[in-house]
Point group: C2
Chain length 83, copies 2
Protein backbone atom coordinates (compact mmCIF):
# COMPACT_ATOMS: atom_id res chain seq x y z
CA UNK A 1 0.00 0.00 0.00
CA UNK A 2 1.11 3.53 -0.67
CA UNK A 3 1.37 6.00 2.20
CA UNK A 4 2.32 9.66 2.46
CA UNK A 5 3.96 11.09 5.55
CA UNK A 6 3.59 14.79 6.33
CA UNK A 7 6.54 15.63 8.55
CA UNK A 8 7.20 18.89 10.39
CA UNK A 9 10.64 19.55 11.81
CA UNK A 10 10.97 22.63 14.00
CA UNK A 11 13.78 24.20 16.03
CA UNK A 12 13.30 23.44 19.73
CA UNK A 13 11.39 26.12 21.65
CA UNK A 14 14.35 26.67 23.99
CA UNK A 15 16.62 27.67 21.11
CA UNK A 16 16.91 30.94 19.27
CA UNK A 17 15.76 30.87 15.66
CA UNK A 18 17.79 33.59 13.89
CA UNK A 19 16.10 32.94 10.53
CA UNK A 20 12.67 33.38 12.10
CA UNK A 21 13.83 36.52 13.89
CA UNK A 22 15.06 38.01 10.60
CA UNK A 23 11.76 37.21 8.88
CA UNK A 24 9.85 38.73 11.81
CA UNK A 25 11.82 41.98 11.43
CA UNK A 26 11.29 42.00 7.66
CA UNK A 27 7.53 41.54 8.09
CA UNK A 28 7.49 44.55 10.43
CA UNK A 29 9.37 46.57 7.80
CA UNK A 30 6.71 45.54 5.26
CA UNK A 31 4.04 47.01 7.53
CA UNK A 32 2.77 43.77 9.09
CA UNK A 33 3.35 45.05 12.59
CA UNK A 34 0.80 42.68 14.17
CA UNK A 35 3.22 39.78 13.79
CA UNK A 36 4.79 38.82 17.14
CA UNK A 37 6.98 35.86 16.44
CA UNK A 38 8.08 33.66 13.56
CA UNK A 39 9.72 30.27 13.77
CA UNK A 40 10.91 28.46 10.67
CA UNK A 41 11.37 24.74 10.23
CA UNK A 42 11.05 22.15 7.50
CA UNK A 43 8.00 20.50 5.99
CA UNK A 44 8.71 17.18 4.32
CA UNK A 45 6.40 15.06 2.19
CA UNK A 46 7.59 11.47 1.96
CA UNK A 47 5.76 8.84 -0.09
CA UNK A 48 6.49 5.19 0.62
CA UNK A 49 5.37 1.63 0.07
CA UNK A 50 4.50 -0.24 3.27
CA UNK A 51 2.38 -3.20 4.33
CA UNK A 52 0.42 -1.40 7.04
CA UNK A 53 -0.03 2.12 8.39
CA UNK A 54 1.98 1.09 11.47
CA UNK A 55 4.87 -0.01 9.27
CA UNK A 56 4.71 3.31 7.42
CA UNK A 57 4.74 5.20 10.72
CA UNK A 58 7.73 3.21 11.95
CA UNK A 59 9.56 3.87 8.68
CA UNK A 60 8.83 7.60 8.99
CA UNK A 61 10.03 7.68 12.62
CA UNK A 62 13.24 5.92 11.67
CA UNK A 63 13.83 8.34 8.78
CA UNK A 64 13.33 11.32 11.12
CA UNK A 65 15.64 9.96 13.79
CA UNK A 66 18.38 8.75 11.47
CA UNK A 67 18.47 11.51 8.91
CA UNK A 68 15.82 14.20 8.74
CA UNK A 69 15.86 15.73 12.22
CA UNK A 70 18.81 16.72 14.37
CA UNK A 71 17.29 15.94 17.75
CA UNK A 72 19.81 18.08 19.61
CA UNK A 73 18.29 21.16 18.02
CA UNK A 74 15.03 20.08 16.43
CA UNK A 75 11.81 18.31 17.26
CA UNK A 76 9.66 16.45 14.76
CA UNK A 77 6.07 15.36 14.42
CA UNK A 78 4.28 13.68 11.57
CA UNK A 79 1.03 12.25 10.31
CA UNK A 80 0.82 9.34 7.89
CA UNK A 81 -2.10 9.06 5.48
CA UNK A 82 -2.96 6.45 2.91
CA UNK A 83 -2.42 7.26 -0.74
CA UNK B 1 -6.84 38.38 19.92
CA UNK B 2 -3.83 36.19 19.43
CA UNK B 3 -3.66 33.86 16.44
CA UNK B 4 -1.12 31.34 15.20
CA UNK B 5 -0.66 30.57 11.52
CA UNK B 6 0.73 27.20 10.46
CA UNK B 7 2.19 27.79 7.01
CA UNK B 8 3.56 25.18 4.60
CA UNK B 9 5.65 26.30 1.65
CA UNK B 10 6.52 23.59 -0.87
CA UNK B 11 8.37 23.54 -4.19
CA UNK B 12 5.89 23.34 -7.09
CA UNK B 13 5.11 19.81 -8.26
CA UNK B 14 6.35 20.62 -11.75
CA UNK B 15 9.84 21.47 -10.50
CA UNK B 16 12.69 19.20 -9.52
CA UNK B 17 13.55 19.20 -5.83
CA UNK B 18 17.27 18.34 -5.66
CA UNK B 19 17.33 18.45 -1.85
CA UNK B 20 14.45 15.98 -1.67
CA UNK B 21 16.11 13.76 -4.25
CA UNK B 22 19.33 13.70 -2.22
CA UNK B 23 17.43 12.81 0.95
CA UNK B 24 15.55 10.08 -0.92
CA UNK B 25 18.86 8.52 -2.01
CA UNK B 26 20.28 8.79 1.51
CA UNK B 27 17.24 7.04 2.97
CA UNK B 28 17.75 4.19 0.50
CA UNK B 29 21.39 3.95 1.60
CA UNK B 30 20.19 3.74 5.22
CA UNK B 31 18.07 0.73 4.29
CA UNK B 32 14.69 2.47 4.02
CA UNK B 33 14.12 1.19 0.51
CA UNK B 34 10.34 1.51 0.73
CA UNK B 35 10.60 5.28 0.34
CA UNK B 36 9.58 6.42 -3.16
CA UNK B 37 9.81 10.16 -3.15
CA UNK B 38 10.74 13.02 -0.83
CA UNK B 39 9.92 16.68 -1.25
CA UNK B 40 11.23 19.28 1.15
CA UNK B 41 9.73 22.66 1.88
CA UNK B 42 9.36 25.02 4.80
CA UNK B 43 7.06 24.96 7.80
CA UNK B 44 6.52 28.34 9.41
CA UNK B 45 4.78 29.15 12.67
CA UNK B 46 3.74 32.78 12.87
CA UNK B 47 2.02 34.28 15.91
CA UNK B 48 0.20 37.55 15.50
CA UNK B 49 -2.26 39.97 17.03
CA UNK B 50 -5.40 40.54 14.96
CA UNK B 51 -8.98 41.67 15.50
CA UNK B 52 -10.63 38.69 13.80
CA UNK B 53 -9.67 35.36 12.32
CA UNK B 54 -10.29 36.81 8.84
CA UNK B 55 -7.85 39.64 9.55
CA UNK B 56 -5.27 37.10 10.72
CA UNK B 57 -5.77 35.05 7.55
CA UNK B 58 -5.37 38.14 5.38
CA UNK B 59 -2.20 39.10 7.25
CA UNK B 60 -0.81 35.58 6.76
CA UNK B 61 -1.66 35.61 3.04
CA UNK B 62 0.05 38.96 2.62
CA UNK B 63 3.16 37.72 4.48
CA UNK B 64 3.33 34.64 2.23
CA UNK B 65 2.92 36.62 -0.98
CA UNK B 66 5.25 39.47 -0.07
CA UNK B 67 8.04 37.63 1.69
CA UNK B 68 7.75 33.99 2.68
CA UNK B 69 6.98 32.22 -0.59
CA UNK B 70 8.55 32.69 -4.00
CA UNK B 71 5.47 32.00 -6.10
CA UNK B 72 7.51 31.34 -9.24
CA UNK B 73 8.89 28.21 -7.61
CA UNK B 74 6.79 27.55 -4.52
CA UNK B 75 3.19 27.13 -3.45
CA UNK B 76 1.88 27.87 0.01
CA UNK B 77 -1.05 26.86 2.17
CA UNK B 78 -1.87 27.69 5.75
CA UNK B 79 -4.30 27.30 8.60
CA UNK B 80 -4.89 29.94 11.26
CA UNK B 81 -5.92 28.94 14.76
CA UNK B 82 -6.74 31.04 17.81
CA UNK B 83 -4.15 31.22 20.58
Amino acid sequence: MKYTAHINIMPLKELLDPQGKAVNNSLHNLGLTGVHDVRIGKHILMTMEAATKEAAENMTREACKKLLANQVMESFDFTVVEG
